[in-house]
Symmetry: C2
DNA sequence: CGGGATCCGTTGGGATACTG
DNA sequence: CAGTATCCCAACGGATCCCG
């Protein structure tokens, strides 16, 4: 399969769909953290920092629904729930890391462009 | 620079920031279309399809602000405005294409997982 | 401990009307 | 043609309370 073209609009919709899925506020942070191994709920919560319980639950449910993570409940007292990446989740990390490297290298350029743009707006007034 | 670790939380925030930026509903579609060459406003509008005028303007302004596209106004009657990718914008397309390929290959798996999850919910009731 | 339910402010995004 | 301005609704996301 040669991706020589991959220019069709429908294709791009699929990409856009995936991007919006993992491009929300927390998914990527959660996936990255889970990349280090199985993790419990509050472990995730504190490991990420700044995420509310509701959003962590929502994010995990979505990731589970899309087959990126598994949820394992140990019916002990108190309950213990562990989240872990599936194969799909781990595979996702590969292209994401490519984008991650790019982002790290170029985030400065983006911020510069942004500052220049905002400054230009002010100067124009 | 060996990206051996790239595991710091701050790093991931940068990635998350870029991802949310291009992960919105239209940015990627616009960038992809602009990858084919300089394009006028309504040309983009019809070429993408489904995007409102407001969102196209908003998306283009954001992309311009972040240095991904340039906006060129030809002061003719009627006015003619062309949008074009910057070097930064073209470079962005590289890692994005990696993710794009992954998405195209695996979107089916995601949809399957989703259907299975939703079905399981219903069956559990 | 790991959530579910609810309330509420913020943001995203579409439709429409108007302008240079 | 290429926007801007406005309205309005839906989704996102945080805070809080409650429950097994």
């Amino acid at each position: 399969m040669k991706p020589t073209h991959l220019h069709a609009t429908e294709d791009c919709r699929a990409v856009s769909e995936v991007l919006q899925r993992i491009g929300d506020k927390w998914s990527l942070l959660v996936v990255r953290r889970l990349g280090e191994g199985p993790t419990r709920f509050n472990e995730l919560r504190h490991g990420i920092g700044g995420i509310s319980q509701k959003m962590l639950t929502t994010t995990l449910r979505s990731l589970e629904r899309d087959g990126f993570v598994t949820r394992t409940v140990y019916p002990t007292i108190p309950p213990r729930v562990e989240y872990e990446l599936t194969d799909l989740g781990r595979e996702l990390l590969v292209p994401v890391k490519g984008l991650a490297e790019w982002a790290l290298v170029n985030i400065g350029r983006i911020h510069q462009a942004r500052a220049a743009y905002d400054g230009g707006i002010g100067a124009a007034a």
